[in-house]
Subunit: 296 residues, 4 copies
Amino acid sequence: MHIGFLGLGNMGAPMARNLLKAGHSLTVFDPFTQAVAALVEAGASAAASPTAVAKAGVEVIVTMLPTAAHVKQVYLGKDGLLAHVGQGVLLIDSSTIDPLSAREVATLATAQGNPMLDAPVSGGTGGAAAGTLTFMVGGSVSVFDQALPILSAMGKNVVHCGSAGNGQVAKIANNMLLGISMVGVAEAMALGVALGMDAKVLAGIINTSSGRCWSSEVYNPFPGVLDNVPAARGYSGGFGSDLMLKDLGLATDAARHARQPVPLGATAQQLYQTFSLQGHGGLDFSAIINLFRREA
Amino acid sequence: MHIGFLGLGNMGAPMARNLLKAGHSLTVFDPFTQAVAALVEAGASAAASPTAVAKAGVEVIVTMLPTAAHVKQVYLGKDGLLAHVGQGVLLIDSSTIDPLSAREVATLATAQGNPMLDAPVSGGTGGAAAGTLTFMVGGSVSVFDQALPILSAMGKNVVHCGSAGNGQVAKIANNMLLGISMVGVAEAMALGVALGMDAKVLAGIINTSSGRCWSSEVYNPFPGVLDNVPAARGYSGGFGSDLMLKDLGLATDAARHARQPVPLGATAQQLYQTFSLQGHGGLDFSAIINLFRREA
Amino acid sequence: MHIGFLGLGNMGAPMARNLLKAGHSLTVFDPFTQAVAALVEAGASAAASPTAVAKAGVEVIVTMLPTAAHVKQVYLGKDGLLAHVGQGVLLIDSSTIDPLSAREVATLATAQGNPMLDAPVSGGTGGAAAGTLTFMVGGSVSVFDQALPILSAMGKNVVHCGSAGNGQVAKIANNMLLGISMVGVAEAMALGVALGMDAKVLAGIINTSSGRCWSSEVYNPFPGVLDNVPAARGYSGGFGSDLMLKDLGLATDAARHARQPVPLGATAQQLYQTFSLQGHGGLDFSAIINLFRREA
Amino acid sequence: MHIGFLGLGNMGAPMARNLLKAGHSLTVFDPFTQAVAALVEAGASAAASPTAVAKAGVEVIVTMLPTAAHVKQVYLGKDGLLAHVGQGVLLIDSSTIDPLSAREVATLATAQGNPMLDAPVSGGTGGAAAGTLTFMVGGSVSVFDQALPILSAMGKNVVHCGSAGNGQVAKIANNMLLGISMVGVAEAMALGVALGMDAKVLAGIINTSSGRCWSSEVYNPFPGVLDNVPAARGYSGGFGSDLMLKDLGLATDAARHARQPVPLGATAQQLYQTFSLQGHGGLDFSAIINLFRREA
């Protein structure tokens, strides 16, 4: 198929490469020309603007952008996709944005005859490169079925979450819980060790008890408990604290609009905000444990 | 062996019965005489006071009491165990109390020649009846080895957590994380559903993603997601909200003494405190989700 | 002067009446026609749309709208003020909205030759009726000076807070602190009384000590401490809990965009969110103390 | 009168000096012998132990100790005051401790014929030296009247707060609110300035609006707003962050025992705990604003 791809950052570039590898023809755009050049070298065609992608005769367009403001500009702006794309072209937005914005764009797209899905991902840059991302997809079943082969070229796990915007809902609900769990594990591990326990023994007990969770078992933030996690390498790599801060912001903002209390989500957001202000937003999100440990 | 047992409440009574079933001889005390009578009918001998238990020629004494104040009274009071028990008798306190109090009693016991362990449990009244409790044990390795056969008669999983008090540390660290996770799952599920997702679909995504945890997988608080959990039966049974409140209080209090920040633990404590004040302390602790859902 | 006025709700209507009383000529618009009719009876002219107000030959336009979305629609929409208003007409937005939106609108207005101020108010419907509002004004000094006579017809206290958007900043910073103080007073009063103190004695001590604040001295939430406050009349009247919730939402949202931690502000927001979900959003904001008191 | 005085620290020493200045005869004890020597030089007699003070023929004993554990030891220990003091001697404890401990000691003292008051102070070391402390006093009216002349020699403001323990209740309720207010002011000032406002202008608006409070008007934490406050001298002097942390700990602990929610109090406690862990516990408590400001 002929696919348009906008947004060739840390996530978008490897995703686009996997579409090329699967045999699709790609027309790509990114304001950062070096990112475009790299994809062209891999076999893609370059487009000079979103409008140019829309007019390139593509059957599908995938977008991977940093914020809702970017998504609105790319889709709804004067020179944006909706103003220039042909009827029937399938639109897939894999950006992580708030559900309200996702629904607003999808409603406008659908109204003018373009089926649209929100399809945010989890799995990080590693999963993007390996083609093992999880896609959480919102939109109608028939459009989901239509998109499945394309998404499967970039991910291993493609889950239908319900109607438009629900991909975003699933993403922010899960990631809010992830942020809460990670802070909770950090507090519990730091407390237990401060009270005299060995970190590995404590993690072992938690992991076989009612406190067990992904953050404790797979991604424990206490140094020395697990190998091959960011805690074992000075919290480099992984999922950045500022990205967790962004997702907690999306979740608490959506909660505000829905008038839903999320007291632990809001407190976790404030902790990552504090951590970021102290200059540590670039560290992996498990480094939040440093808020609870005396300087070594 | 001849074992003394003090504290025949919802947990202590079935634990004592399992010791009888394992062939041990029991001398029991509880201020509530009906609780004593029931155990006597099952084969135990009654004692009229802690002093009487201490003087009954027992080799081991197990205590299962509601608070640190009770533990201090029973062990350290004028008529308490330490004042009257023979040298060498093994003391095992299975109450859930703060680590500082546990260490204070253990230090005094050890100093006068009575080996002592703190051995709080998890598993609830069901685990107590079935003999499948988990024991988290603090004390020296040799005393742990000595106690293992006795504890194994009451539980399935007996874990050595390090020196005196560390059983309590493991218990409160795990349960603080449990309380945080449960509130986190409650917030995430209520938010996702309020934003338009189906509860089962959302739980399915969380349980295969980075948000997964015991509270979501095994004990999901949203009604209709799982069968055979308190959420499926109006939040009756299970682990009461007021018991979670007690454990969160022990954890935040220990954190205060250790000068360790536990912001999510403290917020979770306040939420259970609010829930209790509103009259719901008797409901299972997963009912905390009702703080985040509009009255049905 | 000939002044346009858009937004004739609980606040806007009495503000417009005070402009009429001061001798100004008014052209008004509100989608709710009864609100317009009432002002027409008082001497104003009716306009059928924002466009009509813009084209009515007014020298000044004042807007008093519920949300940033309304402000953007009224100013920036196709049929909005900026598209139709003559150059040089002074624009004053008295809505309480987020500073970013206020700055966005002011920048566009200024760029096309319309001086603009953000001028949110405090003082409630009582102050609006009595003409004793406080205006917190953002914009250049010269525009502020130009607007002073008009604002003075509606308020007693008109404060210049700096450049565009700073009126909103002052409003949300003050109201976030107000929300925090009110919850703090509620917690302290409820705790003191639960521990055995007389509410009036406690308030007296606080009001002569370092805990004193407007929420304690002037607006104490504990029933029986002050007369003539909402706490003395079942929390009716006053400043609604849902309005405090809105302002706390604006503050935490602005904090999120500025990456500023506001942990108490965020917690206060969650408490008002919980209170609103429980169905009490219509009560005065001092009723939040009911979250901390056992049902009478 | 002949007065015993125990606890000659930063607060106790100047308080004892004021009693000497008022013409009273003093017998003093402190484990730190240099502190005793300094008072002896000022005219007091030294005692070698609490027992010695109790047996020195004093009519009144005043204690000023750091924690409830010290108070219990000094009053209730084997060599403590209650075991050796003559009937009728008036006991005044000016330590800041939890109300439950205060009531426990007062009940035992009263039962053996020693009238007792809890009389914690506010006003800091400056007020202690100047004799301008505020005393918040719990106990019966007649005992309060009896103690008034003695307390008036050390303070300017002596307030009867109700029965035994209520002095402590008033102190911790006020100081919890103080801690909340200070953090609230810090958040609001930091947010407003981050959003573009001048700190002095913002403080001026808050101080004439509903956000005004002691922490903003008298003790503003933002540097440059006020002279002669800790913020103007690098947060040296004043009321230490670790002392605020202690008082917030007493308040949340009392709330836990009373089953009262104090969500902002608990969050404020966690923030001071974090600040202390980061090594800043010795700075004035208004320095908490540094948690919310980017490193200069």
